[in-house]
Symmetry: C2
Subunit: 333 residues, 2 copies
């Protein structure tokens, strides 16, 4: 009988078992009794050496993201690592690529390392349907340790999600865009992630509510950097657009360079809105208007939730932060 089996039988994390063994004031008397009962019933004597090693591996959080070279994820990882370190946690970092297979594999390996909790960063790991079978592996992980999702949503016990209200933020921005006179926005998308799909739905709903058509030909999926986006747009030349809504800032900057090459005035001939309000938005001329998706706030929510959860205190399974429209030179609404 080891600490992991004790934790499982008591229905708590190994961190909690460790805290009970150390009589930590952070654990409720009720939980302490439950754990101590399991220990007593199973004649478990902590091995001093194993306990020492166990404690070493005990306060560890896995950070899983598709690609930390991506600015959004880099900002999230930096903030999560700093805050978690300040709370006494070590962070394992795993970059998985943007698919479920990569995440499943890294999650399985990290669980074998006996981490205490995991944060899944970005919405690549969520499915549009929060009850989808595709994310069953995340629910399975959550049966062992708390799972925190940054801007993704999977329904399940022991899964805690902090999200930007991407649907509402997109709906509201595109509604304003339309009210200012734009009728034919181009939607630039980079992926079919949970978050990207929320943005797309928000845009489409705003068009419908304004009595405008949703044209499939004005919804483009483009991957790659600024140059790839510009070249794609130059190849397809959409004469019939008066605005661009981009799911991230790199896409928007690609559109800005497209406008420059065609001699279009921004925002007069083409207004351009980015998403994430990253550092990139300040590099362009004119500077890029962008929806701030509040990544810092989402990180803070996750760290707060994680700390409460580790103390077995009640926490919400879903918390939203409101995106905010940052107006700069590429829009006039």
């Amino acid at each position: 009988m080891n600490i992991y089996e004790i934790a499982e039988l008591a229905g708590v994390s190994i961190a909690t078992v460790s805290r009970v063994m150390n009589d930590s004031p952070l654990v409720s008397e009720k939980t302490k009794k439950k754990v101590r009962d399991v220990i007593a019933q199973n004649e478990y004597t902590p091995n001093v050496f194993a306990r020492g090693l166990g404690l070493n591996s005990m306060e560890t959080v896995g950070l899983i993201c598709p690609d930390v070279a991506d600015n959004y994820m880099a900002v999230a990882v930096a903030r999560l690592e700093r805050s978690l370190r300040e709370c006494g946690y070590n962070c394992f970092l795993r970059c998985t690529g943007r698919d479920h297979d990569g995440c499943r594999k890294e999650l399985r390996e990290l669980l074998q390392k006996r981490i205490d909790a995991v944060v899944l960063i970005g919405s690549s790991y969520a499915d549009d349907d929060p009850d989808s079978e595709k994310v069953e592996y995340i629910r399975q992980a959550a049966s062992q340790i708390p799972v925190f999702m940054l801007n993704g949503y999977v329904r399940g016990s022991n899964i805690y999600c902090a999200l930007c209200n991407d649907y509402e933020s997109s709906y509201s921005a595109v509604s304003e865009m339309i009210a200012s006179g734009r009728k034919k926005p181009l939607l630039l998308m980079n992926a079919r992630t949970y978050s990207a799909n929320q943005k797309r739905k928000g845009c489409e709903e705003a068009l419908k509510d304004a009595g405008l058509p949703v044209e499939e030909s004005r919804i483009l999926y483009i991957s790659g950097g600024v140059e790839a986006v510009t070249n794609h747009l130059l190849r397809e030349q959409h004469p019939d657009i008066d605005a661009v809504f981009a799911a991230n800032d790199i896409l928007a900057i690609g559109a800005l360079k497209y406008a420059e090459k065609l001699g279009l005035r921004v925002p007069e001939d083409l207004c351009i809105l980015g998403y994430n309000n990253s550092q990139f938005a300040l590099c362009t001329n004119p500077e890029l208007s962008s929806i701030d998706s509040r990544v810092d706030r989402l990180c803070d929510i996750i760290v707060d939730t994680l700390q409460l959860r580790m103390k077995d205190q009640p926490v919400s399974s879903q918390v939203y932060a409101k995106g905010s429209l940052i107006r700069r030179g590429t829009t006039d609404f």
Copy 2:
């Protein structure tokens, strides 16, 4: 007697002791004999449970950087993590801020976690003098595990450095700049790190060799983002400059926005050169010329060196990659 004491007595890493215990073909017969002799002399019987836990914590590399939200470091961490994971290593990530105290603290904590190796990312942790006492804590860490430095140089046993030739790259770029007719370059620096100091020396030497004065008033240290740099330059207005050499791309973009606000033509009135050839360089108009500091190559050198070192094969303590000048719209030389 535990695995760590065996490793110390045998003068090898705990990973190597583990490999010898598992009779890994990666360890030389000579090293196997040495380790087995120490084990035999000390009547060491690996505890199966401890050995299991030991193996869990065995293949772990610490990645220490000042701030992973910084694009250069994000790119480095992403590439190192991916390559090391492919070689079977877990990565602990620690962000320390840009001083030795932060690094010393995180290094000490990670050593207690019994990591197998550590990579120090960026030149904040190196001193101009590779024999400086300020970096003695790095030499002490290297007495326990191999230390790898990405673009920093500290002299010492078991320390392996991969560097961009920042001095030569800067010297060569500024020499070309001068040859094309520029006489009064402004040097924009962000820090007094090892690498930044190499860049500055390269610039100064190029000026001297061309018979031009090195004016202290044309060397500025500015921290912060694009806006902070632009505002700083607008406050100080340097009428007497015809070029900018910036130690990173964000500084260069700040200078580009300064030129825009003053109505200066780029590159005709002011030519601007950045450093790192980051994604930011492609966001501006005109696009930014920049020295590619080969961060991907430095990461690959480190991973190759680490693998060889872990197999106790001979490795170089210092490997250089050549920076290369990427010409875009902000320069005309």
